[in-house]
């Protein structure tokens, strides 16, 4: 990526803030790797005062662009407005000719990830406060009313009108009667649990039966679709002529049922017409509607 035409030389005074920012972070960290990286950044920012088009690593050049943007637009290095930054960055990228879209995309993604982290943190802190907002515009009445103010102040200053009362801690032995009563209750609890577990078992079995029924229905539905296709193709074989039902059955009872069901379905779908010549025992005819 090329540096922007008009200004790639940044006055030293402007970059000082970013430099201080980086040096501050360096002073905070102990790991050598991190320090090395920050040193590199410091070098980059210093080189912003010169021409940095010579930097070969695409990634480093993109980072340079980030520093440049922050310095150019005098963004606060301690509190980057990421929305503004992303917009500026994209604008700058569009101007450039040799943009490495992968790196640019990565930088924008990083910006938004940080933004999301920030908003998550905000969300978390707002959850901690249960979403309550304090409005100091309204003066609370305890602040205005004398007695309420006096009481509140007294408590805040350590006055304590309540104290835990001391009562007798003693207990007594359980009587035999109470043990027998407990036994009776336990018996009922056990019975109740047995009953509940039986009910659950019954429901489970019923559930399984229903599942089987559902599977059966499903299979049946699938067969039905297949049947309809078969019967439809048989009807199509007659090229739109009116066909007696007996001609599209193979003669056995099961096939007759399958055929008549499919015919009724196709008729309901308005794909065929169905009629009977003599009611109730006359021949049934079918004919495709689209002919």
């Amino acid at each position: 990526m090329k540096n922007s035409d008009e200004n790639h030389l940044i006055p030293k005074s402007v970059s000082n803030e970013v430099l201080n920012h980086l040096l501050f972070h360096k002073s905070l960290i102990s790991e050598e790797d991190e320090a090395g990286r920050i040193n590199k950044y410091v070098e980059m920012v210093k080189s912003l005062e010169n021409d940095y088009t010579s930097i070969k690593s695409k990634f480093e050049r993109e980072i340079m662009v980030m520093f440049e943007l922050v310095i150019e637009h005098r963004l606060d290095p301690w509190d980057i407005d990421l929305v503004k930054f992303s917009k500026l960055y994209l604008k700058k990228v569009r101007k450039e000719k040799n943009v490495d879209l992968v790196t640019a995309g990565y930088i924008v993604l990083t910006a938004w990830t940080i933004l999301k982290l920030q908003s998550d943190k905000l969300l978390e802190s707002s959850l901690q406060s249960e979403g309550e907002e304090i409005s100091w515009d309204v003066i609370p009445d305890w602040f205005v009313e004398d007695d309420k103010y006096d009481y509140t102040t007294a408590i805040l200053q350590g006055e304590m009108p309540i104290e835990e009362r001391i009562r007798r801690k003693g207990d007594r032995k359980v009587t035999l009667f109470e043990l027998v009563e407990a036994f009776n209750e336990a018996k009922n609890t056990v019975k109740l649990r047995e009953l509940m577990s039986e009910t659950r078992e019954r429901q489970r079995i019923m559930g399984e039966k229903n599942d089987l029924k559902n599977i059966d229905e499903k299979l049946h539905k699938e067969n039905m679709e297949e049947d309809i296709n078969i019967v439809w193709s048989r009807i199509c074989d007659f090229n739109g002529a009116a066909i007696p039902l007996s001609r599209i059955c193979n003669g056995n009872k099961d096939d007759f049922i399958r055929t008549i069901m499919s015919v009724l379905f196709l008729a309901a779908e308005m794909k065929i017409n169905v009629w009977q010549k003599k009611f109730p025992y006359g021949e049934i005819f079918v004919q495709r509607c689209d002919t």
Binding site: P140, D147, T152, A154, I155, M160, E163, I166
Partner: protein, 173 residues
């Protein structure tokens, strides 16, 4: 008369044995005495323990009655009866008790963000009730509050007055 004296002794024994605040009905169920006799006995016991030179008292706690150590002696026997509620919660509780019904957000202005944790704990102990109201909660004390601290009324307004008096603050008429 002798019978009457004896009745109040039965009620006294009941309060002693229970070691917790009792309703008149609970005393009735245990002793078989009538409500009237129990109520009279309780009045008698309250006066008697107040007037007598003793470390104990019989008093009203919310809508119940309890036998307990008089406030002045509590500190001497604290190791035998350890406290159940941490001191840090007492301040929050005293403010809720007085200002109730109070918005959690208002309480937060008085005490800061720790209020949320306190309210949660006080709710768990069963001393404070929190009812959602928009983005905040309305806080009140539960029935257990006056029972626990031996406040002689269950009426919120009167609890406020009781607290103000104890804290040495004059209530506005």
């Amino acid at each position: 008369m002798n019978e009457q004296v004896s009745d109040s002794r039965v009620v006294e024994a009941a309060l002693f044995s229970a070691g917790r605040p009792l309703t008149i009905n609970e005393i009735k169920d245990a002793t078989g005495l009538s409500e009237n006799v129990i109520a009279d006995s309780l009045e008698k016991l309250i006066t008697e323990y107040n007037e007598r030179d003793t470390a104990l008292e019989v008093s009203k706690a919310g809508e119940k009655y309890v036998m307990q150590v008089k406030t002045g002696f509590a500190k001497h026997v604290v190791s035998l009866a350890p406290k159940e509620i941490p001191d840090r919660l007492l301040k929050t509780l005293a403010l809720i008790g007085y200002h109730q019904p109070v918005k959690q957000v208002d309480l937060m202005r008085m005490l800061g963000a720790k209020v949320y944790e306190h309210v949660h704990e006080l709710n768990e102990i069963g001393l404070v009730h929190a009812k959602k109201d928009g983005r905040t909660k309305i806080l009140t004390t539960t029935k257990r509050f006056p029972e626990y601290f031996g406040i002689n009324t269950a009426d919120r307004k009167k609890i406020s007055e009781w607290l103000a008096k104890k804290a040495g603050v004059k209530m506005k008429l």
